[in-house]
Amino acid sequence: MLNYKNHQEKLEKIKSGEISLSENVKHFLKNIEANKKLNAFNFVFSEDALKDAELIETKIKSSSSCGKLAGMVIAIKDVLALKDKPLTCSSKILKDFVSLYNATAINKLKEQDAIIIGKTSCDEFAMGSSNENSAFGPVLNPVDPSRVPGGSSGGSAVAVASECCDAALGTDTGGSIRQPAAFCGVFGLKPTYGRVSRFGLTAFASSFDSIGPFTNNVEDASLILEVISGKDCLDSTSADIPVPDFQKLLDDVNLASGDYNGKPRIGIPKEYFGQGLNPEIRESIENLIGKLKTSGFEVKEISLPHTEYSIATYYILTTAEASSNLARYDGARYGYRSSESHNLKQMYTLSRSEGFGKEVKRRIMLGTYVLSAGYYDAYYKKAQKVRRLLKNDFDNAFSEVDLILTPTTPSTAFKIGEKSSDPLEMYLNDIYTTSANLAGIPGINIPIATSSEGLPIGLQLMANQFNETALLKMSYYIQKNLL
């Protein structure tokens, strides 16, 4: 067990000499080794991490100012670019690829003196909900290794849940942070689209992808978000909106004593509590809703009428973007090239057939199809319209409430292999999470309970675009008072 409850306490204890940062990193490295069978990491940077620990420890202890994340040990999903390190996206097609540059989010972590301990496994190119689609083998759930950790950022969730680091970065295109966080019992935050620069995030679906943190507590999630957010001149879709001092806001507010500037109103969308929701999850959520009511929050039922179209819309639009985003992996300039190819067409077809896994190929084909002449209007264009309707649903909802509360997943972590033969069944696991990506709004998983089988149960909160403050404050309140 770690002898600090959040990063702030860790930093104080390093300063006072109660914790040695080098020992702390060694502890994580030992855990990584001990949990090797979980397969959470694609690459571990032991030497770099130990060297950084020494430097940063000196910096923390000397009077000179140190970064906001000084000494925080972070693992990053292997779809994020880290200079001079492999960037594989858990795919054979990028098996030997080394990045020439740092992602903006990674630069920001480093500027604030975080320590990057390794790169975590994921579903290939972030496509999947179980982390079974990795060229380096499946990742196992630390709570029950016969079960999946969720995906696509499964490795990052497992790394935090199995105490291999303080925090991890993941990416969320349709639930890829929140769902594995729910399955592994940690906090997972998907920020507003555009809040965090995507420069250096290997694109799956460009208008959906967000980078966000996995943590053990809301304070650390707030701190990391604060650091990685902001307008980036290298990402035209990053938003030029001031980044609040999220962590300070948490401290400023004492919800229990009622000095929250107007208690947030909470909406419960009825569409998220229909058939297919695991009864134990329903019970846990309802239980928590009861506690919120008792604490004096206004909780009301709302409707997000287009919810039933979200999965279809999501899969049409994300596969369309993916089919184009993944065209660059063609064997011509870098990455895997089939040794069997003797002409251009063969180079393309063999390299891509051999280099991509099954799920990625399925999505490239789907995406190519929906963009094809004669089908574009019926699929892509129509899905864009539905996306707008879904966004309108949320706009309407947020005119009535400040936050929306739902389960994160319809079920707890399922068995390895249980859904891999039925893609549709697998896709339905994202039923509560894809809407936030379609609407571009922030969402968070809060681990609130464990099932009778001992599996984590997650609650999802969503807020309006760029209102992470409300999201984090409420999460903090729940963490502090209701768990």
């Binding site: 990028l94 990045s99 290298l234 184009s324 011509a332 393309y348 094809s372 574009y376």
Partner: protein, 481 residues
Amino acid sequence: MNSKYEAVIGLEVHAQLLTETKLFCGCSTKFGNPPNTNVCPICLGHPGVLPVLNKKAVEYAVLMGLATNCRINEKSVFARKNYFYPDLPKGYQISQYDLPVCEAGHIDVDLSDGSTKRLGITRIHLEEDAGKSIHDQAFETLVDVNRCGVPLIEIVSEPDMRSAEEAYQYLSKIKQIVQYLSICDGNMEEGSLRCDANISVRLKGETKLGTKTEIKNMNSFKNVEKALNYEIERQIELIEDGGKVIQETLLWNADLNIASPMRGKEEAHDYRYFPEPDLMPVIVSNDWVKEISENLPELPEARKQRFTSEYKLPTYDADILTSSRDLADYYEEVAKVTADYKSASNWIMGDILKVVNETKTSIKDFSIKPVQLGKLINLINNNTISGKIAKDVFPFMLKEGKDPEVIVKEKNLVQITDSSAIESAIQKILNNNPNEVEQYLSGKEKVFGFLVGQVMRETKGKANPKAVNDILKESLEAKRK
């Protein structure tokens, strides 16, 4: 062309923009650097990179739109054009599709029969260039990515042209405009200006369009005219023989002077266009358009008009002098030094353009500076030298780059205007040619020219010809008495 038929031609012109950096990254656009040196992870299409739009390129596209009477769209959208090719690193080209930056414009071109024709421009859109595949080794293709991401505008015409000549004039006008705007160097041979054509033919009076073919790879102005004439004739012959034109893409072969069908791979593409999610829509506000239009230089048509009114030049002269912005600038620099505008025009259209064309230099780098030419003209007009001597001074100016007055002095070419010197030369010639003098006096006045020539020779051409004329005539008439 068979007079029963008319051609219907539309052109797609790609112009490489003269921005310092590429359209979506900070790499240099410099031509001729070693292969794969003007590159970065962004234009190499590495995982995780994103495009950032070069505002200058938008500005240039808007300038072109304004110069060709287009509507400037307040909002335009980039789209991905998806296809696989080794010199296309991302597997898609970022272009514009249903919302281009400029639409619905036109230009007027002058035709050889003296008429003027208005030709429509459908749209002008921005896009990035692809790299170059070099197939110069037996089994290998090499790729140079330097050009990848260089900004282009594609100017799409309406199918308004009815002959190769009209197409040639249209293309010349487009080249002239991009050069005037300094947004493209207009060099077709180096590929900074490229042209594809859509061609069909139909019986005159027919309103329906015939089946069209597309011709690519016409990499000079001459080839455009040749290729279009070739294809028009081919289609007419085919139809006359009872055949049917097949819709296909042809490649012009400048060595064989034929167009042959392109094989397989580039045909029948489904580009799967969709809006580029990595870029926001381009917003060109009215204020921005206003700001850009303030940088709009005087365009060829207006300058031509001004040359005829301000410098009183014939239309023919004005046309030639304004054919390029550099030439027109040269002329106006000369016109600042001398008020003899017509002489300036004659010198430029004659001696100077001859050398420029022969040596294939640009007027900008021409060794005789406009000020020097102006001075030369002034030396003639103030009788320092004769026009004939000026023609001798010109090659020295060309070679030595010196001012004309320096050369005149060095070579001792100053005109003799002193009448006593001329008189003594005349006296000498008259004494040496008694027969010719006799002939003149007996009415054969033709020999007068011969005698003038002799005097000029005697003075090594430096005598003022008018003075020679006058004094000689006087001296001969005096002998009658």
